[in-house]
């Protein structure tokens, strides 16, 4: 517990001073605000470019605007989150920063859990906040489709589960291969490659990628299977990291 406490506090200070909080928050909040505004302005922008009024063809409603934010979260924000977190364990091992903590008897489980819990909580809070901000602007700028705030929060929960899986997968690769950027690239490759499995119905339904579909549907239908996968995978990834951190030679 003492290791968890020390590392949790250290992670907060680190994320503030190395601007990790700002980077993640800036990207998620930026798209939450800019997406609905740009979508609203899109017909006018296109009209000024093409001299044609296409507003009758380009009807954007509340649902489409919210889905646009989910698309940006998946395509862009996910990359930022993975790359920001990719050095969290590997770089510390490689740079010898664990020498003093290990020589004081710190627990590998405490280190892994503190780092994982810290980023899961932060990304979770910012994602919820991003959805709420986005919902506020969308409902203000677009015609109401009847999507309730509860549905948006369910959608946010799907995205958060997807991010949680990616955070832990990134940390695990970072711990195993001890190369931060390489770990991030591997995770992003696996993540975007899994879209190609969409046609394999039986498998795809259990993949974390399925959570993006459930987020887009604003309902919890189909969320159970990938949620089970994510929970089991996260437990396994944490166990792998703790094992690896107990075996690693930190000099």
């Amino acid at each position: 517990m003492s290791t968890f406490k020390a590392y949790f506090k250290k992670e907060i200070i680190e994320a503030i001073r190395t601007y990790r909080y700002i980077i993640i928050a800036a990207v998620l909040i930026f798209f939450a605000i800019s997406d609905p505004i740009l979508l609203k302005l899109l017909p006018s922008i296109l009209k000024s470019q093409t001299q044609m009024d296409i507003s009758s063809f380009l009807v954007i409603n509340e649902k489409m605007a919210l889905q646009n934010y989910i698309k940006d979260l998946f395509q862009l924000c996910n990359i930022v989150i993975v790359l920001v977190i990719s050095g969290t364990l590997g770089k510390e091992i490689k740079d010898g920063k664990l020498i003093f903590p290990y020589s004081k008897g710190s627990s590998p489980a405490g280190i892994v859990l503190a780092k994982a819990v810290h980023y899961v909580i932060y990304v979770g809070i910012i994602t919820f906040l991003g959805f709420l901000i986005n919902y506020y602007y969308v409902t203000m700028l677009f015609k109401n489709d009847g999507i309730t705030i509860i549905q948006v929060l369910i959608s946010a929960a799907s995205l958060i589960l997807f991010f949680v899986f990616n955070i832990l997968l990134t940390m695990a690769f970072s711990c195993l291969i001890k190369k931060d950027i390489a770990a991030g690239i591997i995770v992003l490759f696996l993540c975007y490659f899994s879209i190609t499995l969409k046609s394999v119905k039986g498998i795809y339904d259990f993949l974390p990628m399925k959570l993006i579909d459930t987020a887009n549907s604003f309902s919890s239908v189909g969320m159970a299977k990938p949620t089970i996968t994510v929970i089991v995978a996260c437990i396994a990834l944490i166990a792998i990291m703790i094992y690896q951190m107990s075996k690693v030679e930190v000099v």
Partner: protein
């Protein structure tokens, strides 16, 4: 206090430690000497719990290291050769981090931080981020971190290597003062003078084996050997050969115009050496008696040439 028995460590096919054994008694300062790559840092890293070992036994106050590793590490302090910290933390924040890991209460952390930062001379910089510290400050701050949990044994891997002469002297004085407090120190260094100044016992590690382990005083008694250094005005040619017929002379090293004569019998040397030199009829610039120091002993032992 600390007993290491038949410790073996390999990296792939390379066996770095080939079954080393030694004992460190409570309150002693134990010097660890060896060339680069001899296995000093590996040994220290194993005892500090940073790397695993293949076989052998380590016990601390009679308790086995493998079974009670985490508990025993709380009684050990370790300063690596190049200490690395989280550069974005201040000195106080880092010590708070270490204190929390060690399970110390907040008040004790504050008190201990203040004491140690004062002791190692980094108190004025302790509110600044560690990333801005100089090499010497990092080494001193590392010493404070190593000592933070009031360890029973302090493992110091080349603690003075990046310090200026003044800083070196202060750290050595600090190490010597720890003896009075009953702290055991396990010290490795390349600076043999440091070992001579503070250590009670010394081990010499060579190619993964301990080739000598002795009290420093006994070591000097056993290996000390008087050497006569004679400097001549002109080139000596093959003069060294002429000394080999004397049984009381162990070895002769010849430079261009100087000789170092290692003698077995000082009394005979005092009586006969000047006469022998005078017989060569070569002008002498200087004649002095040198007593071999730890550096000579170290070089002789690791070169497997105890005669020179």
């Amino acid at each position: 206090m600390l007993t290491v028995n038949n410790l073996v460590k390999s990296y792939g096919k390379l066996q770095v430690l080939k079954g080393i054994s030694f004992q460190i008694s409570r309150g002693k300062i134990y010097g660890f000497l060896g060339e680069n790559g001899a296995g000093k840092t590996t040994t220290m890293s194993i005892i500090a719990g940073l790397i695993n070992y293949d076989s052998g036994e380590i016990s601390f106050n009679g308790e086995g290291f493998k079974k009670n590793k985490r508990e025993l590490l709380r009684k050990i302090g370790y300063l690596p050769q190049t200490p690395v910290f989280y550069g974005y933390l201040s000195g106080y924040e880092y010590l708070d981090f270490i204190g929390t890991i060690s399970g110390m209460p907040r008040e004790k952390i504050k008190k201990r931080s203040s004491e140690l930062l004062e002791l190692v001379g980094v108190k004025e910089a302790a509110s600044r981020k560690i990333g801005g510290y100089s090499g010497g400050m990092l080494q001193r701050f590392g010493l404070a971190v190593a000592m933070f949990n009031s360890p029973e044994i302090l493992i110091l891997d080349e603690p003075t290597s990046s310090l200026d002469p003044q800083g070196r002297m202060e750290v050595l004085e600090l190490i010597a003062s720890l003896r009075a407090e009953g702290v055991t120190v396990f010290l490795s260094t390349h600076i043999l003078n440091d070992i001579e100044r503070v250590c009670d016992e010394v081990s010499i590690l060579h190619e993964g084996k301990i080739i000598l382990s002795q009290r420093l005083e006994d070591l000097k008694k056993d290996y000390i050997q008087p050497i006569y250094d004679i400097e001549f005005e002109e080139n000596l040619g093959n003069l060294s050969e002429a000394f080999k017929k004397y049984s009381w002379i162990e070895a002769v090293k010849q430079d261009r115009n100087s000789l170092s004569i290692y003698v077995k019998d000082v009394n005979r040397a005092q009586q006969e050496l000047l006469n022998i030199i005078a017989a060569f009829n070569k002008p002498v610039l200087s004649f002095s008696l040198r007593k071999s120091n730890l550096e000579d002993i170290f070089i002789r032992l690791v070169n497997k040439n105890v005669n020179i």
